[in-house]
């Protein structure tokens, strides 16, 4: 029996042009969340054009056939809407807003207009290129450790792999971008048959289907979308890597990476439970060992997490910082000892209970708002071709056995599957391993 966490109906349909429409009514709020997932991300960027998917996402707010620059935000706010933004990650680009339910049609009209047309000028491109360069400065270049995730993906994936570069891209390549790059990008990827439209809230599914047909129905399908060419990756990196960066940082800090299963793959639930037991929260093994028992590392809210990349093998990412007077290598050794212990001795049932309780409660939290619920449905519809798959999440976790976790641990925590990236202060003079995701606003 499916878990009751997702307790709302789901209505799915496909327009003749291939646009998938997902509607999940919830009359308890006077709202409608409108969310678009486009199946295009930084992984589609060829060499020399890194950062273009994300810059393009900014340009989608710069106007379209019937909408002026900036007017998307202005019209949504003026109708009483909010929670407006977009984001790009290696896998996908999403666009979203929540409006009073009586304004659903306006949001659909706006999204359809920019799916079907792009009002791009050299001036708006130059402006948003400057904005994105400032985003890069603010998040990467002007902050201590700011480039760690960019360096890490370059180590974790072979050169040229779709995941081997950061979503924000490079200053030089952004400078080289021309108008033609972005009109081609829109023509190639922004099509109804490469998108999922999700609407959640106080809406009637039949009415949403009619409106989707009215606003999106005449847009032409692309037929097929070019996909990145990636050679299959082995389960492990193949050899350990250790990289040390000496920079202007206040104290040593270490980032640790293992190759792990992709989000949505059969081993992903076991990896999520494993990393939650080992690395998430005050009761995790890494916290209790590194902080409480051995006093080697500073407290972190999370020491390890399974990243959710969907299309190729993902990463199990960790971060820690030695306490004052402790050598970085001592923390690294202890970190891997905790990993090795999990392989050798397995996990205790009560540890698994804690992890299940945390993940299940977080699932309720994730589904609590119509905006987050719509985004989640868009993800499941994009990844599995069926939004109903969202109902299986807790059942899949419940089906994971200690043996499954032991196998995933053994495959993941191997000597030939480790990257250690250490920052050292340049002169004697904490963040967490959040996933890299760029936003328009």
């Amino acid at each position: 029996m499916p878990h009751t966490a997702f307790r709302w109906p789901i209505h799915q349909s496909v327009l003749p042009n291939g646009l998938r429409v997902v509607v999940s009514p919830d009359p308890s709020v006077p709202l409608a969340a409108v969310n678009l997932w486009y199946d295009v991300g930084a992984r589609h960027e060829p060499p020399g054009k890194h950062g273009f998917a994300h810059l393009f996402e900014h340009l989608m707010f710069e106007g379209s056939a019937h909408v002026a620059k900036g007017e998307h935000f202005a019209l949504i706010q003026a109708c009483g809407g909010d929670a407006i933004n977009a984001s790009t990650n290696p896998d996908r680009t999403n666009y979203y807003q929540t409006v009073p339910s009586g304004q659903l049609e306006l949001a659909l009209w706006l999204e359809a207009d920019r799916m079907g047309s792009l009002g791009l000028t050299q001036e708006t491109l130059d402006n948003q290129r400057d904005v994105v360069k400032n985003e890069r400065r603010q998040r990467y270049d002007n902050v201590p450790y700011g480039r760690w995730s960019e360096v890490m993906v370059g180590l974790a994936y072979p050169e040229g792999h779709p995941y081997a570069h950061s979503t924000i891209g490079s200053m030089a390549e952004l400078d080289s971008a021309s108008l033609a790059d972005f009109t081609a990008f829109h023509d190639t990827y922004y099509a109804p048959d490469n998108a999922v439209l999700t609407v959640v809230g106080d809406v009637d599914p039949e009415r949403v289907a009619e409106l989707a047909e009215r606003y999106f129905g005449r847009l032409e399908p692309r037929g097929s979308v070019p996909q990145p060419d990636a050679k299959p990756l082995p389960r492990q990196f193949g050899s350990p890597q250790r990289v040390t960066l000496t920079e202007d940082v206040p104290m040593p800090r270490i980032y640790l990476c293992h190759r792990g299963p992709a989000w949505g793959s059969p081993d992903a639930p076991a990896a999520e439970l494993l990393t939650t037991v080992l690395g998430r929260g005050r009761g995790s093994r890494l916290y209790r060992t590194l902080v409480s028992e051995r006093r080697l590392a500073q407290a972190e809210s999370g020491f390890m997490a399974a990243w959710g990349l969907m299309h190729y093998p993902s990463m199990v990412m960790g971060a820690c910082a030695p306490r004052v007077g402790i050598e970085p290598d001592a923390v690294v050794d202890a970190y891997f000892e905790v990993c090795d212990d999990a392989v050798r001795g397995g996990l205790e049932p009560e540890e698994l209970d804690r992890a299940r309780a945390m993940i299940t409660a977080d699932w309720f939290r994730e589904l609590a708002t119509v905006n987050s619920r719509a985004d989640t449905l868009g993800q499941y519809a994009t990844r599995f071709g069926d939004a109903e798959a969202v109902r299986n999440r807790i059942a899949l976790l419940d089906a994971v056995t200690l043996d499954d976790i032991a196998r995933v641990a053994a495959e993941t925590f191997r000597d030939d599957n480790r990257i250690v990236l250490t920052y050292l202060p340049a002169a004697s003079a904490a963040g967490t391993a959040d996933e890299a995701e760029e936003s328009a606003a």
Binding site: H66, D126, V131, R137, N142, V291, Q298, A430
Partner: protein
């Protein structure tokens, strides 16, 4: 893809339904303590939090950060649980520990599946009423605080914030220093300070906030758990000395050699939460800097490309508030960005907002209210506001009605009264050697400052 395949005519919608805040129940508990509970039928997650009068203004002289450190240690070991055991107990419920600390109060809370709210509040009571504060836990926790402060003070924006607060409130006022204190002030804190602070101001009953499906909750049991062992008393801290506001624009420059961006903070003091002009202020402030379409973000980001984002806001405290413009801008455009931002503040004060801006902003404020209040924790934050500022239970519903009734004239009168573009304190944290000449050439009197750490 061509425009002919699109629908040219923009659709019109219907007006949103008026927002009504959930029903609130208040229960006075014999012997001290009060419960303020919002009813959220059918919600699987619940939140409860205890509000206590023990904010940063209660920090003793020289020990800035003590209130925050004491609050942070509550779940780091109790009479019946070691720190690790307590963490395991909270996480075993699927709960999240929530803790917010401010100038006046702290709120210690738990976000938990509603069926486990009783167990969660038992843990809350254990942490607040029976903390252990062992020397070992204190030493470990303070070491982590020291390194996290070191990390924070290496980030752009922290040192400028310290300089900004000092300039606004003066070095003698607690408001003139950082909420969390400095690395130096925190380094002075001892276990005895922490135990003493708890005994003095964290043993009063306080107010328990609950945002939950109340049909599934035994409020009396929650009260019994939280308000036992609460014999103390605590109230608002003494009012700190308020400085004379400056009479002219001043630029304070905090050096960050090699920085590729400058962090800007520009502002002055503002009215407290009790101002009758609250809604009028919020309306013009949103147009000036409160959203993506605001004038500041439009000019500095969407027109000039100086920044990833620019904004401005009023924060209304119990006794006083602030008005602050904030942005991180590319180093080479620092002086231009300051000049543009100052011009926007001046333009708002002198000309106010347009009829169109008023109409769209009011619609945005009204329509988006339920979007921001979808979670128990979000509802709980508005309950906390009611308790901290002594507002009626339906203050959010009343606020909605006030926004409906507001006029453009009110907003513009408030802009004229509460913006002081000729007495702004401007703090720039950036590469001083690069940005100083430009700021001086733009006509600003620049003073280099070195914030206390």
């Amino acid at each position: 893809m061509t425009a002919e395949r699109l629908v040219a005519e923009r659709p019109t919608g219907t007006a949103p339904r008026p927002y009504v805040f959930p029903d609130v129940r208040r229960i006075a508990v014999p012997g001290g303590g009060e419960i303020v509970a919002a009813h959220l039928p059918g919600r699987p997650i619940a939140w409860a939090g205890l509000v206590m009068e023990c904010g940063a203004l209660h920090d003793p002289a020289g020990l800035d950060g003590l209130a925050r450190v004491t609050g942070g240690l509550l779940d780091e070991g109790t009479r019946s649980y070691t720190a690790d055991e307590f963490g395991l107990a909270v996480e075993g419920l699927g709960a999240r520990w929530t803790w917010s600390h401010d100038w006046e109060t702290q709120s210690i809370g738990i976000d938990v599946p509603v069926a486990l709210l009783g167990a969660g509040v038992d843990l809350l009571a254990e942490a607040v009423r029976r903390p252990a504060f062992t020397d070992a836990d204190v030493e470990r926790f303070l070491a982590d605080v020291a390194t996290s402060l070191q990390h924070a003070w290496s980030q752009p924006g922290t040192r400028s914030q310290q300089a900004y607060r000092r300039a606004l409130f003066g070095p003698e006022s607690r408001f003139g220093r950082m909420l969390d204190g400095t690395p130096t002030s925190n380094a002075r804190i001892t276990g005895d300070d922490i135990r003493g602070f708890h005994a003095k101001v964290m043993t009063a009953p306080g107010t328990l906030l609950v945002a939950a499906d109340l049909d599934a909750v035994d409020l009396d049991a929650l009260a019994a758990a939280v308000f036992a062992d609460a014999p103390g008393a605590s109230g608002p801290a003494d009012v700190p000395a308020m400085p004379e506001p400056p009479s002219e624009v001043r630029v304070l420059l905090v050096d960050r050699p090699g920085a590729v961006q400058s962090v800007l903070r520009m502002g002055h003091t503002g009215p407290p939460r009790s101002t009758p002009d609250l809604v009028a202020i919020d309306l013009f402030a949103e147009v000036l800097g409160g959203s993506f379409t605001s004038r500041l973000n439009h000019q500095l980001r969407e027109v000039k490309g100086y920044t990833y984002g620019a904004g401005a806001s009023f924060l209304h405290g119990r006794r006083i508030g602030t008005f602050t413009v904030a942005a991180s801008v590319h180093t080479e455009v620092t002086a231009d960005a300051v000049t543009d931002a100052l011009a926007e503040v001046r333009r708002m004060r002198e000309a106010g907002i347009t009829e169109d801006e008023f109409t769209t902003t009011r619609a945005h404020v009204l329509g988006s209210m339920p979007i921001h209040l979808q979670t128990p924790r979000g509802i709980g934050a508005r309950l906390r506001e009611a308790v901290v500022h002594g507002l009626p239970d339906d203050h959010v519903t009343r606020e909605y009605a006030e926004v409906v009734a507001a006029s453009r004239d009110d907003a513009n009168a408030a802009a004229g009264r509460y913006l002081r573009p000729d007495a702004l304190t401007i703090v720039v944290e950036g590469d001083a050697a690069v940005v100083e000449p430009g700021l001086e050439a733009a006509g600003f009197a620049v003073t280099r400052v070195v914030p206390e750490e």
